[in-house]
């Protein structure tokens, strides 16, 4: 699940993690192959990007469609109405807001718990750390359908009312592992003696954490937050098993698909896309600046 499905776990380029280190993959002479070989490779790479973006282009183009029926999947004419009235479908908008609420709450909990796990693993040597690392990977390498089904059985057996809280519990579960592993990968190899230095100079443990440790792990936390936000917002399968009558944005889209697929789905999805890409660019640019400093 990587990052399960969704695991789906994307992440920022590695250069951001290791400021100051020389880029090992650089290829100063560019002698990777013949000139024609490289041209064919470049053409192929462009085709792969086209493949990756084809559905996104489709989604964006169809925000301007004026569908004749209730399904926005055939082109019927240009209109700006969907963008002028993005919140027209009340149920869809409510589900969208609920998705944001679930995501914000789940990742807040997961970020705190996951970062603490990452600090423990990256900074201390203790018995059982290897076992803990394998245990952390398991939720991400378990098929989402098993995660969902087992939580479903737990909640059902305890007569828990399915809804917002059960969905949040599930989302925190798959985000914790993800945050812990992402943050850990980024803080590995830091010089923790800096903390000792701060405390030798008279800083309190809390102050040395705030001034030394926290700034060091912050880029990892930001990356993890961005990516687990995407994981939570996007999740379908685990949510399907833990939702009851509760609906998130993807669930609402799926439920409504039997009767309609309004263009507002595309508009809301495009909004999320635009905001996420802006955030990605922003954090990349900041990382670039930090790296060049």
């Amino acid at each position: 699940m990587v990052m399960s499905e969704g695991v789906a776990p994307p992440y920022l380029p590695r250069e951001l993690e290791e400021p100051g280190k020389p880029r090992r993959g650089s290829n100063p002479t560019g002698r990777a192959g013949s000139k024609w070989g490289r041209r064919i490779l470049t053409a192929f790479a462009c085709l792969v990007y086209l493949y990756l973006f084809l559905p996104l282009i489709n989604i964006i183009v169809f925000t301007f469609n004026d569908p004749a029926g209730r399904y926005n999947i055939s082109w019927d004419g240009f209109t700006l109405n969907n963008w002028l009235d993005p919140f027209k479908d009340r149920e869809l908008t409510d589900a969208f807001v609920r998705s944001l609420e679930v995501a914000v709450l789940s990742i807040s909990i997961a970020l705190i718990m996951g970062s603490l796990v990452a600090i423990a693993l990256a900074r201390y040597r203790f018995t059982g750390s290897r076992g803990i690392e394998i245990f952390l990977v398991l939720p991400l390498t378990t098929p989402e359908i098993v995660l969902g089904a087992s939580l479903y059985q737990l909640f059902l057996g305890r007569n828990v009312v399915f809804g917002f809280s059960t969905v949040v519990i599930a989302h925190v579960m798959f985000c914790v592992s993800f945050v812990a592993l992402t943050v850990k990968a980024r803080v590995r190899g830091f010089d923790w003696t800096l903390e000792d230095a701060a405390m030798d100079l008279g800083a309190s443990p809390w102050r040395s954490f705030r001034k030394i440790t926290f700034p060091l792990i912050l880029p990892g936390i930001v990356a993890a937050a961005l990516l687990s936000f995407a994981l939570s917002l996007d999740d379908y399968i685990v949510t399907d098993f833990t939702k009851g009558e509760f609906t998130t944005f993807p669930i609402q889209v799926n439920n409504a698909f039997r009767v309609s697929f309004p263009p507002q789905v595309n508009v809301l999805a495009t909004m999320v896309l635009i905001v996420s890409v802006l955030l990605l660019v922003l954090t990349s640019v900041r990382g670039e600046k930090a790296a060049s400093r």
């Binding site: 499905e5 650089s26 002698r31 423990a120 900074r123 359908i145 379908y236 098993f241 697929f261």
Partner: protein, 293 residues
């Protein structure tokens, strides 16, 4: 990988209680909402259920497992076949792109790898629905394909195995590209120059030097594509037909529609057992680090 953790132990503390304190909230969450639920799922898989609305009774009912295989053999076979083809396709599509970015990305590497992540920022469900709009029988793509001589006029992509495999490949392709890129980034490409100096052709240099060094990325990517693909049911729901149903389809239907918990639990545990075995073999040889994208 796990092996080089020991080299970065600057200031690593030998904590006695502190690491366990930091770990406990996150690990406790995972125990309560991942480990215990999986145990409950095992219990359900060994239970029998008198009628549709009765509660499952624990009774060492091993026959659930045998009927999981005998009754749903085709679905299992299709899941692993489709997921396997999707994984191989993702390697063939993703490796050249990762290689191109790593060798020819230059100063645009960050941006180029960031672009690979962008599809994650629209919902997986909505991307899949976008594919239905692209692949549909009266769509532009099929129109072009039908214009090619000798292609049968009833050729279609929706509701076929090709449609489902295409969707699985697309949805999880980024999970393949990212780890391959990470492992290629670690390679010192001056090695290929050394190979050229020793009269190796570019192809030999790639096959004997670069490819073996990037295999950890290929293995990690394969797991990250195969796992969600094998348990998926959304691609089949939107791009396939009942004739292409996968094991996820059966599990979802049995749990949430037919309430046949014992057999559904057995089915999902068999899926989990096969996948966990693959993950453990992987982590035995290559550690857990590569899976944490």
């Amino acid at each position: 990988m796990a092996a080089d953790t020991d080299s970065d132990d600057r200031g690593l503390r030998k904590g006695k209680w502190a690491p366990y304190g930091l770990l406990s909230p996150g690990i406790l969450w995972l125990v309560l909402f991942f480990l215990v639920p999986v145990m409950i799922l095992i219990r359900t898989a060994l239970s029998s259920k008198a009628s549709r609305f009765a509660n499952p009774e624990f009774s060492w009912q091993f026959s659930n497992f045998s009927s999981a295989f005998t009754d749903y053999g085709p679905q299992f076979a299709r899941s692993f076949l489709f997921a396997g083809i999707a994984t191989v396709s993702a390697i063939l599509i993703g490796y050249p792109l990762a290689y191109w970015i790593a060798t020819q990305g230059g100063r645009w590497k960050n941006l180029l790898i960031g672009l690979v992540v962008v599809p994650f920022f629209t919902s997986y469900l909505i991307r899949t629905i976008a594919w239905t709009s692209i692949l549909k029988d009266d769509g532009v793509l099929l129109n072009i394909i039908h214009a090619i001589p000798f292609v049968p006029l009833d050729f279609r992509l929706l509701a076929t195995p090709a449609g489902v495999i295409g969707g699985l490949t697309y949805n999880f392709l980024s999970f393949m590209i990212l780890p391959i890129y990470v492992s290629l980034e670690k390679i010192d490409f001056r090695l290929t120059e050394a190979a050229a100096d020793l009269y190796g052709t570019p192809w030999q240099a790639f096959r004997k030097v670069v490819l073996p060094l990037s295999m950890p990325g290929v293995f990690a990517g394969s797991l990250l594509v195969f796992i969600p693909a094998a348990g998926d049911y959304l691609n089949n729901r939107y791009l396939g037909s009942p004739k292409t149903s996968m094991i996820g389809t059966v599990v979802q239907d049995k749990f949430l529609v037919q309430f046949d918990y014992p057999v559904a639990a057995a089915l999902s545990l068999v899926l989990m057992a096969i996948i966990t075995t693959m993950v453990l073999i992987y982590s035995k040889f290559l550690g857990t680090e590569g899976l944490a994208v």
